[in-house]
Structure formats: C-alpha cells, structure tokens
Amino acid sequence: MENLLITILLTSIPILLAGLGELVTEKSGVLNLGVEGMMLCGAVAALGSVLIFGNPYIGILFGAVAGILISTVFSFFTITLMTNQVATGLGLTIFATALTGLIGEPFVGKTAASLPKLEIIFLSDIPYLGKILFSNDILVYFAIFLIFFIHFGFQNTKIGIIIRAVGDNHDSAHSIGYSVKLVRWISTSFGGMCAGMGGAYIPLALTPHWSEGMTAGKGWIALALVVFASWMPIRLLIGALIFGGITILQFVAQARGWDVPSQFLNMLPYLTTILALALISFKLRNNNYAPACLGKHFLGNK
C-alpha cells in the first residue's frame, strides 16, 4: 500500500508542477495552451543535459530554462504581437512536439541518472507517512513548497496582488501605472519554467528514458486541472493526486484482476477531465473564480 501511494504521488508531480505554472500564467490573464509542448521541451532538455553532464540536478536547471525559452516565444507572439492566444498555444504544442522529436533522436535508448531520494532526518522515520512524504527527491518537496508559496503569494504579497489585478482588469491595472505586458511576460515565463520542470521530472524520476511525445497528454490534463481547481493552488494538489491515482488505478485494477476492460481504464483520466470541466463550467456561470481578462488582449500603449 505504501508503495502504491508513493507511486501515485510521484505520478502526479509532473501535472502538479505544470498546473501550478499555468495557474500563475492564467491569473495574469494569459491562456497558454502550450503546456504539453513546454513540458516536452523540459523533458528533452533535462535528459539531454543529464546525459552530457551526468548530474540530475543540472537536468532540472536545463528543463526549467528550456521551458522559459519556449514560453518567451509564446509571449512574444501573444503579448507583443497580440496574436490569438488559443491558436498560438496550440501551435506551440504542435511545434514543440516535432522539435523535441528531432532534438531527442540521439537520446533514444540512452539511460540517464535519476534524481536521488533525500530523506529528511527524523521526519522520514515516522511510520507510513515518513516513507511516503519525507523520503522523496527534491522536485517533490519543491512542488509542495510551490503550492503554499503561490497560495500565500496571491493572498498576501504585493506582486501576487498585482498579477491578480492585471488578470482581472487590465485597464484598471494599467491606469494606476502597472505594466500589464511586463507582468504578463513574467507570469508566462514562470508558467514555462514550471512546465519545463514538470516535463523534466518524467525522465529524471519516472522512467530514465527519452521517447518521442513522452508526456503523453499530461500537459492537457494539467490545463484542465487549473480549471478543475478553480484557480486555487491547494485544490490543484487534490486534483493532481486524483489524476495520478486514476492513472495508477488502471494498472492496479488489472494486476488485481478486476473485471473492467483495460481500454476503459485507459480512458478514465481523460473522461474525468471532461467530466470535471463540464461540472465546473456549470458552476462557473455564476461565480468569479476565473480571471476576468483571461485570454483577452491588452491593447494599451505600454
């Protein structure tokens, strides 16, 4: 049981990281559908750099930088040139899928070093919980830290409130002197960094390989998760664990011989995504969780 819970936790880390990044991006009013593509860039950069330098921590760094770089392409098009965000985001994913396939070709079939487990003294000795929560690799701790960092940041810091203001009403934010475009550039880059790290986590911790399109839809799930979590970081954690759980459940069901078709179980994560989106959109009609300026261009002169 312990091992299963650890597996579920680790499986949800990529979507959690990517989801947290996208949450910040969307809070500033930018809808970046390129999460899947940014994750792939992070994955290929991480694996490539680990193969070259031999150190998995370098892989995290390269994954994050790759995510930032590819997200600036998106920022340049949508924020500076004001192209359509949906089309540009989709384009980014399609482009990145092919690009990473090309870059990744020499890495196919090579094995990279994995992130080591860091046991936290005393805490890792707690029965059950210690093994599940406190003897993981650095990105797990980072992801959990990030949840609280973002939650606290949006509630209590000036920067967080500026980002929210820009996302909710860019004209007002502009009129009191904030640079809407700059805030959006930074938020999108933050999203790119997180997606890159989420992608990097797959070859660094889950399976030490590169294969083309290895994120296999995790980016799309992360996107849906942001809506599912109604733009709240702590709900995002719950959502990510549910999705991680379902992904693993489909294998557990088979291993235990439950009489459910495996194709149906394969479909479950996506089915849950659709259901979650449908339920949320019912609820969304009369609330104001979503940033009011999400996906809208800022036409101001700054």
Binding site: T7, G109, S211, E212, M214, A255, S262
Partner: protein
Amino acid sequence: MYKNFLKIITFLSILVSPFLFTSAYAKTKVGFVYLTTPGDHGWTYAHELGKQMVKKEFGNNVEISIVENVPEGPDATRVIRELAKQGNQIIFTTSFGYMEPTLKVAKEFPNVKFEHMTGYKRTKNVATGNIRFYEGRYVQGVVAGLMTKTNKIGYIGAYPISEVIMGINAFAQGLRSVNKKATISVIWANTWYDPVKEADAAKVHIAEGADILAQHTDSPAMLQIAEKNGALGFGQSTDMSAFAPKAQLFASVNNWGPYYIKKIKQLKDGKWNTGDGPDHWSGNTWGGLSTNMLTLSKFSNMPTDVAKKAQAAHDGIKSGKLKIFAGPLKTNDGKEIIGAGKTLDDGALWGMNYYLEGVTGKVPK
C-alpha cells in the same frame, strides 16, 4: 551520426532510383520499414541486427533502404508505397500494425514481394514471418518459478492478441512445471512502446508484491524499474543486461537475420512464393529455438542449479522432446482444452483467447 547517414542514404536512393531503373542491375533492392528507431534497444534494434546480417551476407549485391519511426496506420501505407515505387523488390514491414497497409500496397504492386512481421494474412505476394517467442517464455516461466519468493509474477502485455496470450500461457506452463503455487497477474499497456507506461505498470506490479517481472512490450523501462527496486525480470527482443545488470535473468533474443537471408536468396533464385492454398500457408515462416530465429542470452543473477534447469528446458524445446502445450490443459476457470496425450497445434495457438492455469484474471474482450 550513423542514423543521419542512413537517412541521407535513404533520401539519396529516392533521388537516384529513376536512373537505376534504366540500367540493368544485378543488385537486389531491399526495403525495411521500422516502427521506431533502432535506439529502442528492443524490437526494432533486433530487426536492425538482422539487417546488418543481410548486409554482411550479400555485400554489394543488395541495396538496402530503411525508413524509421513509421507509425502504424495511414502513414505506413504511404511509406510502404513509396518504397515499392522506388523499385525495391522485397519489402520487410516489421510491425504487427503494418498488416493492412502492407496488404493494400501489395495489391497495387503485384510484382513486388512483401514480408510482413508478425501478422497472419498472406496473399500471392505477401508472406509472413514470425518467431516462436512463446518458446523462450516457457524457459522464463521455469526460471521465474524457481526464483520467486513471493510466488507472484508480474507480466506486462502490449495488446490482448493471440500472439501475446500464447506467450503468457507458455510462461504459465513453464512456471507450473516447477512451482504450482506461483501465479501470474497481467497488466495490459495497450501500446508496444511507451517507457512511461511500461514503467508505471512495473511499479504497480512490484507494489502489489511481484518479485519477478516479464514483459511483452518493447522498451527496457520495466527492467530498469526492477533494477531500482531489487526485483528480477526478463529482457525482451535483445539482450538488455546493459540496462539492468543486476535484474536481468536472461533475455529472449530475436534473430531475424537467417530469415531475411533465406527470403532474399529465394527471391534472387526466383523461388520466392507463398504457395497456392487459399491461406498461402507455405508463405509463413515461424521459426523458434530449433531454427535459431529465437535464442536466449546468457543466464545470469541466478544460482547454477536454476540455470541448469533453464538450459534443460531450452534444450528440450530445441530438440522437440519437450512439448510446451501438451495435455491435459485447463483454462484458469477450469474448462478443459485438451486431454492427456494430445498437443495443441499451431492453429490452436493462434486461436488462443483464454488463460491457462496459473494466470489470474480474464482475457479482456
């Protein structure tokens, strides 16, 4: 570098092929369609090794074109057609999912010979090739039965098709020949190659208590997870000990070279045909340990008496003395398949849609 070189060769051969047509050439043009790149270190890599044996055997008398990373489906049709247009005389399509695309293109090019692996549909110019993978899996079962401490074996299958199911059943026969208490649980990955999924499935097997893992998918991911978690397992298609030196017990190694060489020789001698029967059965090559199309890599990470028993099983299958599917055979829900003294024939193997005793769960419908 090498891969790029191959790509350039393929590209150049597209460019020059019209000129080659005009001159009389003694070279046999051979095409290969690969599912992934040889870098998968599994299925496609085994085909790549076979191709290299062809090159060694015929030298300058063959001209080889390869297309890598061809998805199963409409893209495959396009690629196979292109290879046929370029004047390749024999085209080896090396994945199950190329079956319909191969048949489709074969109809358009009646003078080109096609060899499809590993399907079951043949026509006048489409032959099929396959390896009796299940023979190696019986030996895996023997080793698993002797090595397991938890009596739980985790098996990762690609798709619930008869080729994979007969492998699971052969494994179960081997397992139960030495250990009646051990059981096999199966997880279907619904893909031939996806290291993330294969790794997830392996983790779940281990979390559920399995200490020996077996796979009918293509990447070394399962063995790497086994290595990390102190479990043991078997390599697929090629020797994967480099990925899991402490976990791999042995690998069933696919040896396609002799089959390729035989078929190209037949073509050169004008003897290539698939026979006249409605099923074109004589166009089917299905070799195993006895014809060296399947070999086993070195036995490792096991005591010598286990290795001896594995070797004995291997020798028995190779000489034909040991019949894997000899009666009495019962399904895992108690239905009798055949009684004592009888043996399943090849046709019955291809009709397998049930698990034998020793496997838990049901075959997905």
